[in-house]
Symmetry: C2
Subunit: 447 residues, 2 copies
């Protein structure tokens, strides 16, 4: 099948492209490296050196003899999107191409607007281009379980039958998301459902849980095929972060009590779920939702599990409760369904089986690259912006704080009339170049 | 009270500004005339000559001795919004400042993205600026009854208690909007609810029905204070359009069977509802929804009513059913609640009482300005864009079609190598200048 992967340079997009290519699909990827720019901007380097997309596509072909086509462009540029769809004529489009971080979306006004505008515009453009040039294609869209929030009733897969005052109807499950990022996914879901209804497009909206894991069969073929793995306070998800903290010998940091319960899945199950959705497409005009996760844990359970498993490897870890930077309920009901993908044949990789080998050992191989100062949360959900600058700057880690204070001096000099002699702050001593993340030296094999 | 009206140049924004100013509030308005540009772009002139905002503010002060401050700027420009809120320090912000047309949002890719990005960004900017500089202010946001769609259960005011498998929760009423415009309002609603929760802002989301009417106490003070009244296929709403068709002696055009039922309210009730919301603000952190309409009618009932009332004035009108350009159910349950504003003291102006005097007579005074060719629907919800150009251009009225064909010749000449000698199409003979809508000659008084 001809499958186009949007966001093919990312943590999940790249492994998905390889996974589908390995299964003899004709795969093309699109990316514009915006996320790499945000990483540089926020000084958040992936744990494992990640080659350029073009390089990885080349290595993939060398190693497997499978070709992945690659187009560099912005989903917010409609002419690019329409041209790409018109030339490749995908039968399925897997859409990972969005700003993926809740903390990023809460940093400040600019980044919240950027998140919503970028994600909504990209998805709208894909819908219009499908309508225009490939109306039979199947859009497999990465949504989020966070769209639902934590309601006091069981969470169905996308829709709920409501009986009210003697009448009945089937409704989109009411959404109560908890960040501008999750809001952008809710907006996408509404837009996609509408487009399927009006234009008879077909789409599967994968309401995905929190993905963990660093290795897939394909990334393990060659160290140069590694995917971008984040453990920092902006792009790192909780379990990935805990594993890195355990290996680095720093406390596992919970937000609040840690009794918040969340849905999780292994990166391998993400890939298989996407494949199952592709192989079992919906009807024309159908918008469907799969809740894509395999297990739920409280954040505290998760930390305890990581701590005890890490001990087996000789890593003594402690757990620390931080004030919760997010605005969320810590004690709540949580019972989301996830039958549809199991019904299509998903066989979950359970956390208990993969934690040590696929996570802790793999991370230990890169332990020398862990930057401890980037792990702690830097974004406060309810902080008040003010003269001191946006949240991200007032809560910078020690290293970045140095740069910031020099920047402030510079701003001051400029403001008091430094005039034409604008002086940029010197590079902080000892700060590694951000480009370090792109080094091509082969890293040790993952396991 | 200090009240800031966003979109103060528009059909509702300008009358609201005058209404609040007349009641001794300290009123400021913001606009950037984007809607006037869209009118020019789509050749959709308001029925009644409408002076510039600056001129109307000046006339208002001459006539009533009340001052309205005026700031020209774009809600999508955050620095402008923050500065405006910081300087005026409003206690209430009435937000009419959005792209207001469903057909406009369905014209093509560009206008659908523009609608969502413009509306979402403007509202997000207002929320961030409130958070930053006026966190106690009350945002009175104009949403739409169209956010709900036409569900098979009764529509509550914003929220619904759902009992499901033995558990209960109160949820935002699930939304099923029917255009990209209505989707933008749904996205706003989600964003505002989230901001109220996280930042303890306060907001009333007025889910407004279809507004009709041309006259308010304030517009009637002086012909130069008239508001922008549309009857065209893009910016005109159904009842306003029917009245103009009856007066112009052309058939009243229904979309499909006309059994679609919709909620309506008079323009005077819009103003009073906004005032009631302002005078009864929610608590900090509270997001509430009022369903703002007074009556429901099927579109056919509405047309029949206009036809029979118009006959009393000697206007013989017929009713014509057009193929429905929208994708919507024509037979459906429709029972929305609207108790909250009545509970606060709203006394509805009923259609039967105001139709002849406030609408038909007022419109007859401007009958010479009716441009019949702009009344018919030009936008098809499910049209397929293609080589023939976007929907709006392929369905142009006769007059515009002339311009378009000349434009096509020009494009052709350019494409086949007209080179540096690019020739712009001549102005179509007899086509009045679009600026005609801005003429300042006093029009006859409305009644």
């Amino acid at each position: 099948m001809r499958i186009l992967v949007l966001g093919g340079d990312g943590y999940l997009g790249w492994p998905a492209a390889m996974y589908l290519s390995a299964r003899d699909h004709d795969v093309a990827v699109i990316d514009n490296f915006l996320k790499r720019r945000w990483e540089l901007e926020l000084n958040a380097q992936p744990l494992i050196p990640t080659s350029t997309l073009q390089k990885r596509v080349q290595v993939w072909e060398e190693v497997t003899n499978h070709h992945i086509s690659c187009a560099i462009g912005d989903l917010c540029d409609y002419e690019f999107v329409r041209t790409a769809l018109g030339r490749f004529r995908p039968e399925a489009i897997v859409h990972f191409g969005e700003q993926p971080s809740a903390p990023f979306s809460m940093v400040d006004q600019r980044r919240s607007v950027l998140t919503e505008v970028n994600n909504i515009t990209g998805t709208l453009n894909v819908l219009w281009a499908m309508h225009e040039v490939v109306p039979s294609a199947h859009l497999v869209k990465l949504g989020s379980m966070g769209e639902y929030g934590t309601p006091n009733i069981d969470i169905e897969e996308g829709f709920i039958e409501i009986e009210y005052h003697g009448r009945k109807g089937v409704f989109p499950f009411p959404k109560q998301p908890l960040s501008f990022y999750h809001l952008s996914k809710v907006h996408d879901s509404h837009n996609i459902m509408f487009a399927c209804g009006v234009w008879k497009l077909r789409s599967t909206d994968l309401h995905q849980g929190i993905v963990y894991g660093v290795a897939t069969d394909e990334t393990e073929c060659d160290a140069r095929l590694a995917t971008s793995f984040h453990y920092d306070g902006i792009f790192g998800t909780s379990l990935n972060r805990f594993c890195v903290q355990a290996v680095a010998g720093v406390p596992l940091t919970l937000y609040g009590s840690g009794s918040q319960t969340r849905p999780f899945l292994n990166i391998r199950d993400t890939l298989r779920s996407v494949e199952l959705a592709i192989l079992n497409p919906p009807q024309a005009g159908e918008y469907r939702v799969f809740n894509q996760f395999t297990e739920t844990f409280s954040i505290l359970e998760l930390a305890e599990t990581v701590r005890s498993q890490a001990e087996k490897l000789g890593c003594a870890a402690t757990i620390e409760h931080l004030p919760n930077p997010r605005v969320e309920e810590e004690e709540h009901h949580y019972c989301p369904r996830h039958q549809k993908l199991l019904g299509l044949g998903l066989e979950p990789h359970l956390l208990s089986d993969v934690l040590v080998d696929s996570m802790l050992v793999a991370i230990r191989n890169h332990a020398h690259r862990v930057r401890r100062e980037s792990i702690l949360p830097r974004v406060q959900w309810d902080s008040t912006p003010g003269m001191a600058g946006p949240a991200i700057e007032t809560r910078q880690s020690e290293l970045s704080a140095v740069s910031m204070s020099r920047f402030s001096e510079w701003v001051l000099q400029r403001d008091v009339g430094g005039g034409a002699g604008m002086r940029f702050p010197p590079t902080a001593d000892g700060e590694k170049l951000a480009a370090d993340g792109l080094e091509e030296k082969a890293a040790p094999k993952a396991d």
